[in-house]
Symmetry: C2
Amino acid sequence: MIPFNSRLSSVIQTKHSHLCVGLDLNPEALGASQVSLDALKSHAFKVIDATHDLAAAFKPNLAFFERWGSAGFQWLEETMDRFGNDTIIIGDAKRGDIGNTAKQYAHSLFNHFGFDAVTLSPYMGADSIAPFTSDPEKGVFILCRTSNPSAIDLQNQPIGGECLFDKTAQLCVEWNDNENVGLVVGATAPEEISRIRKQAPGLPFLIPGIGAQGGDLERSMTDGNSNGDALINVSRGISFAGDMSEKAIRSAAQDYVNQMQDIMA
Amino acid sequence: MIPFNSRLSSVIQTKHSHLCVGLDLNPEALGASQVSLDALKSHAFKVIDATHDLAAAFKPNLAFFERWGSAGFQWLEETMDRFGNDTIIIGDAKRGDIGNTAKQYAHSLFNHFGFDAVTLSPYMGADSIAPFTSDPEKGVFILCRTSNPSAIDLQNQPIGGECLFDKTAQLCVEWNDNENVGLVVGATAPEEISRIRKQAPGLPFLIPGIGAQGGDLERSMTDGNSNGDALINVSRGISFAGDMSEKAIRSAAQDYVNQMQDIMA
């Protein structure tokens, strides 16, 4: 039995890649005025096929599937079958509910859909997280300091000389008994990556915000990967790159992998 | 055009009921060792048919549908068709994501499934909430002080003489420009209901935690309904009451409605 955090390290090393390809499959981004679910399905498969050997992880965001209701969840089920076994699949769900309910979400995301890890919100505390961490082979990435402009509304509230996100980071360390807890830390707040790294040494970071959101790739890589692993998520910058051909998508992914390797060289 | 908060008030007055029937349709609660989705579907319809004239609102929790994947979402679609138009339907989803993604969740919950209101997590701040509040006829209930034991982990963190949940309450007031923002405040923290009521006068409260969680009905009703409306949620105490017959379910719902009317008399 290999705990999730160790498996993630091993995949990053084996594939020489810190890239997480985010699947935020926005129909508007495909350009046409009326986009069918079939067109989006084909596009998702194209992105997966073009990048699966370059990516350490894929991160489908559930919102873009739920938009279509049950047909969207069917699409997610089909998409899960397309991923190989050599890549970490993270369900970007940001769930958070009381224990009794969290168990159902864990069943959905881990057992039904088969994700290796999920993103969670910490607002409801330990008992909303525990049902997701009981199996060491499944991982969680807990929202700590997110990449959006309004992240500061709650996350930067001052608590005795620290911020709320510092407290969240400390809780993540407490909750890591099974070596399967990581943190979401946005690339748009680069000073805070190193600060949170000090609070949570050894825990993996999932870093969104590179590309469309304008985050700092260099500091995400150097600070995120000091004393722990960092997965760097790129969504729109890969899924909808250039003319959206398989070639353009692969080229964008390869370019990000090269940039990350150069930074770490 | 009637803003959501006004419509909610009007339904509560017309139906003489503050009861929200929570649909947390846990297969284990049905008792049999192997419960089919069909058995759960029938049970959900039984609960709705037995209580729709007594309830001001229904609150399906999405986790219990998502547990079954696309078949569960089909079931949710069928369930939405069973509710009448004289009851408020709240999607208990506790979503919270960056603006671009929140738009997709809002489309899913309001346009695809047709909920009147949804529950949201505040951890990511204003831009994660805004896509849900742009239509005044659709409402949101934002997690403020939740009913679970670990709620205190983050929500009671001290911020300059207050707690994080006080700050959340103040943000909810700021976000209420369209008169469609309410708060989730647990019945298990009765002192905090009156405290939050002072922070957010006039905003509706959705109060879970009555029944299985052991919350305080009297203070939830008196403090929640002073200077604003309170919806009191009961899930397991109604959906799985007694022998789980339509009669037992209706009787449990009627009993809660009577208790609430007595408290307000």
